[in-house]
Symmetry: C2
Subunit: 199 residues, 2 copies
């Protein structure tokens, strides 16, 4: 068993099962959606297929409810716990992937007419502002005093820290796009696309 390649998704599932106990794919989905899903999307079908794959490697076990819904419940195994801990122990240095269609369009802004640039900046600004508000709202709701006992580093603590980086990114993005919009999107290169086309 084991030792196929494990992906970030694998560790996400293993980690959640280790921390939250036996879960259905739907529960995983809810949990992810409320946390990491804020900046790292995991389509719901992934949370069905990934546990199944891990089961094939003996890192989790699958059981099925007997009643109506017959939901699939996954439980982490000893082997799964070990794989998870080995990973948590291993430092790595892969750079962050920052995938943003808006930035890609900005990169090619010289190929777009000024009107499109303006729309881009406004759209991005609106999107990032909305996201920022959502983070702030979220943070306000869950600041339960007893969760942060002095010195103790609880689950909620790390959850909060992780989300804070998402919030910091959105803050930076808002400032960035404000700056882009303000510094002007005015006339630049001749409006059309160059690069003598063939065909």
């Amino acid at each position: 068993m084991s030792n196929e390649r494990l992906t970030p998704t694998s560790y996400l599932v293993l980690g959640l099962l280790a921390r939250e106990g036996p879960s259905t794919p739907y529960e995983l989905e809810r949990h992810v959606g409320a946390t990491l899903g804020n900046f790292w999307s995991f389509p719901h079908t992934l949370l069905y297929s990934e546990p199944a794959r891990l089961a094939g490697q003996g890192l989790v076990t699958e059981t099925r409810e007997q009643d109506g819904r017959r939901r699939r419940v996954f439980t982490i195994t000893e082997a799964g716990v070990h794989a998870l801990q080995a990973w948590l122990d291993r430092p790595h240095a892969e750079p962050t992937q920052l995938r943003d269609l808006g930035l890609l369009q900005l990169f090619f802004a010289d190929l777009a007419p000024p009107a499109a640039r303006l729309r881009l900046a406004e759209q991005q600004l609106a999107t990032h502002r909305a996201k920022l508000s959502a983070y702030e709202e979220d943070g306000r709701l869950e600041r339960r005093p007893e969760a942060s006992r002095r010195g103790q580093r609880t689950v909620e603590h790390w959850r909060g820290e992780t989300l804070r980086m998402g919030l910091l990114y959105e803050q930076a993005a808002v400032e960035f796009w404000e700056d882009v919009a303000q510094k002007g999107l005015g006339p630049g290169e001749p409006s059309g696309v160059e690069g003598e086309a063939a065909g």
Copy 2:
């Protein structure tokens, strides 16, 4: 021809071909590596396969050098230019994907022993600091005065803007991890992984 699904990679290729003119996959790779590749990795084989796919849709044409290397040279077509412009004109609101293994590990920091947390923070701090330095160095090198004529929004201008968002992210990340390290990684939940394992 055309009208299969176009991905971000497609638009990257189309945009580069439109702006830089006919290019080989290797030239695309160099260009990407020096710009977007800083925060959005595109494995080099993608820059071989993607133009080929676009050729199948009539958005680019492929020619082959006759001499020794017989390199593949891709040129954007009229249809390709139109597809690109239509995309640049289209606003969209997909949220940024921020994929960072360090954040994933931080999310599960309560499952790791304090020593591992410490290593995590140090590793991340080193990585982000290095990346930040690279951005700053890069920015210093290319600040050629004539590139930024007043009011004109040149290719270099947008390139610079795009990279600036990458830099802002790294700045935020450095501050974030400094804060994580400083606020303490000390004792929290009982060290081991819980979540009663089965199997």
